[in-house]
Amino acid sequence: METLLQVLFNGLSVGAVYALFALGYTLVFSVLGVINFAHGAIFTLGAYFTYLLIGGAVGANGLLAGLQLPFALPFWLALPLAGVAAAALALMVERIAFRPLRDRGSDPLLALITSLGAGVILVNLIQLLVGAESYSIPVGTLGSLPAALSIAGAKVRSVQVILLAIAGLLLAALSLWIDGSRSGKALQAVSEDPITAQLLGINSTRMIQIAFGISGFLAGMTGGLVGLSVSIAGPYFGIGYGLKGLGVLVLGGLGSVPGAVLGGLIIGLAEACVPADLSGYKDAVSFGLLFLVLLIRPQGLLGRPQSSKV
């Protein structure tokens, strides 16, 4: 029998993943006004990086078959390192899929396609290198932690507690940075108006890179966490999360950081409330919710309405 608390916990931990995912989209969207379709692939790579860094061996089906790093890092170290590797990758994606278009002043819509191309390349590169099989991060990674904790009578997987704690930490750090630091304020200025920001002495290109770097870092960490809590279900496993993250992003309001968090938690909780015998309809529930919100509040829950002029 699932208690209310358990449902709440499941919902929150799934919701936290969606929120982190959506925040990665949000950062890029707020500075460039486009969605980075390679985000899901970067998330996936973060999961694989984590797996490799904790000393996992590559299966038999890729070019790198049997590869194993000569060292095995503890999960606490492997996760942020995977985040950093993912951030580097996100910067590369920015360099090849976004900047050339910006330099030429092309239609921003094209970045949807170029970033999709980058995503296709990354996903298939993973498949080529490490094969299509699923990998799981062993439970022993977490040291002597018990598999489940008992909180107020409810059994909660300790993985979920860790996931929630790290997600909370990342979200807090991110909002502190955006609202409290000079570079965070500069990012807000660029998202308001890149040209004016440039005139005021802010290096817009640099801020765009920072947005991509942080978004990649978040995606990499989230990938590692999901890999730990569920498993890495093959090179395509980021796509489902990517799609959900997109829904969360719009539900909360494009470009709004609190909106992304709220949207993630709402969709996570809504999915957790779907009874087990209707679980097939889980995805329909979240997208149905998104659809309804769009119709009532087209700018999303916490988004600002756009005004248009000729």
Partner: protein, 302 residues
């Protein structure tokens, strides 16, 4: 060339046209795979469950296929009219994501319903043609018809209104164009093309399941249009034909083929920001082969 591949390319071109129609008036709708899936499901259900359509010959009668098309067109058309009224109030990326949500809801529902065969789908859809070549010629005729209609559309009042809305929504409205109705028209036409294409695809694939209309399909069909060009109907046709064929043509490079495909859609927009086929390119080509440019390309009818 392999007729099966040709048939797939032609279906790709039709889907490209379906994404192109709303994009022509600036509406980024990714609902095409959803309407495609509805068309396919209608064909699969009717042809496997309705004995009256089966006819007496050894192959499934073409008239039944045409009837399925009419039913699919009616269904998708009515649905698009209802949904369009609601979703077309959204703009830009919001519209894109709302339509992705629609496609996903539809996919999940099809996946879970009993009568659509669940995750396995519907098998043994009867064949109206003995060979892939038969399908290819039928689809080629269909594509030619729809291209001709698109060409007519581009040169008539509603088509011009679409182009005006694409350039500037508010300015078009201030010139007396009913923007809501014009957008709805484009959306419904897009749904019709996708639904009809779904009927042909269901027979050609011989089986039908929920996977055929998913998010990947939304994005791939969008790539057809952006790569081919969205300012004339030739663009999506070119993009659909080429990008459907590409992964198959690249089979010799084996595992690398999808990577090469990714490189093509990554690099394509950098070199062809307007898409490969643009009205300017067509004009240049016409001049090269010494044909006088058609007057309608410049001024148009009063």
């Amino acid at each position: 060339m392999d007729a099966g591949l040709l048939e797939q390319m032609l279906l790709g071109a039709l889907l490209g046209l379906s994404v192109y129609l709303p994009l022509r008036c600036g509406q980024l709708s990714l609902a095409t795979p959803g309407f495609f899936a509805i068309g396919g499901t209608v064909a699969a259900l009717l042809s496997t469950r309705e004995p009256a359509l089966a006819g007496s010959g050894s192959t499934y009668p073409i008239t039944s296929v045409l009837l399925e098309m009419a039913i699919a067109a009616m269904l998708t058309g009515v649905l698009a009219m209802g949904l369009g009224r609601v979703v077309l109030r959204l703009r830009g990326i919001y519209l894109a994501i709302a339509t992705i949500a629609l496609v996903e809801i539809l996919r999940v529902v099809t996946l879970n319903l009993e009568f659509t065969g669940g995750a396995l789908g519907i098998f043994g859809i009867p064949q109206p043609f003995d060979s892939a070549a038969g399908y290819a010629s039928f689809t080629l005729a269909l594509l030619a018809l729809i291209c001709w209609l698109c060409d007519r559309l581009e040169k008539t009042r509603p088509g011009r209104a679409m182009a005006a809305i694409r350039d500037d929504d508010l300015a078009a409205a201030s010139q007396g164009i009913n923007t809501a109705d014009t957008k709805l028209l484009a959306f419904v036409l897009s749904a019709l093309v996708a639904g009809i294409t779904g009927v042909v695809a269901a027979h050609f694939f011989n089986s039908w399941n929920a996977k055929l209309g998913n998010f990947d399909a939304s994005i791939t069909t969008l790539a057809f249009v952006v790569f081919g060009g969205s300012r004339t109907w030739l663009g999506p046709v070119f993009g659909g034909l080429l990008l459907t064929a590409l992964p198959e043509l690249l089979r010799p490079v084996g595992d690398l083929r999808l990577i090469v495909f990714g490189v093509v859609i990554l690099v394509g927009p950098l070199f062809f920001p307007q898409g490969v086929v643009t009205p300017e390119l067509l004009k240049t080509l016409k001049r090269r082969i010494r044909l006088p440019p058609t007057p309608t390309a410049q001024g148009g009818k009063p």
